[in-house]
Symmetry: C2
Subunit: 134 residues, 2 copies
Amino acid sequence: MKQGLLTDRQKEVLRYRKKGLTQQQIAEIIHTSKANVCTIEKAAVENISRARETLEFLYTLDAVHLCTLQSGLDLLKAPEIIYAEAEKKGLKVKYDTISLINRLRDANPERFRGRQIREDVEIYINKDGDLYFG
Amino acid sequence: MKQGLLTDRQKEVLRYRKKGLTQQQIAEIIHTSKANVCTIEKAAVENISRARETLEFLYTLDAVHLCTLQSGLDLLKAPEIIYAEAEKKGLKVKYDTISLINRLRDANPERFRGRQIREDVEIYINKDGDLYFG
DNA sequence: GTAAATTTAAACACTTTCCCTTAACCCCCC
DNA sequence: GGGGGGTTAAGGGAAAGTGTTTAAATTTAC
């Protein structure tokens, strides 16, 4: 039934934005406040990245569960755990230590505080050694 | 903040499904009814196509408005209108008559009744002659 | 430095989604 | 007919999302 994630309001703002209009100008055109335009635009951008993440998840379906990084773990200790688990399964992780850590943090910034993991992170791996986090 | 579109419940069901379990089996594992598993799975699939549609929309941002197919128009007359408008803009539509009509109908099945358009359809075109409907 | 543009926060009404139950229905196959 | 797998409809309670306003804070541009 429902179409995409974006509301009509959100699409409208994105289109005007694409044309180069400022939030103030858009606010006048659609008869609301500029703060509201900002909120709507932000929600739109948020929705777009949620859409991306949703499709990302589909790849994890082709992946198997590798291990769980428990809350409280030091982020720097994650790679060796992951490498060891992958080896047990005869799989080679596609990322080196540095990019693995970066990928981990980029995937879920809010789950980390400094070097510490704040919330359990599930690690999945596919045949190509790609990692996904859930 | 929130991750993808899919809830934990929906991901759970999709994973079990990928493994080949029946809805009944999943229902027992997660302690609910098979009807509920069906509903959750359906919502998940729905969410996935909403995610796809959302990203589709982004392409329309790179496209310009070509014309409006007015409610009541005969679907079979749409192609010549679209070709004429594209020509005015010096653009070549990427689709032949048949696939254009199919694309139109597939994009928004609920907006057509037989050969008749039930609701205004906005047509957008990009530099490559790709068409998008809004 | 100041004005414009953008972002954030809090609160509100309103709508929608989510998960669940119960009960029924469809299709296929033995 | 009965069983297995899947789907649908109706309804309810909790949770989340949307658009909005107002007000303040921050960034960017001249």
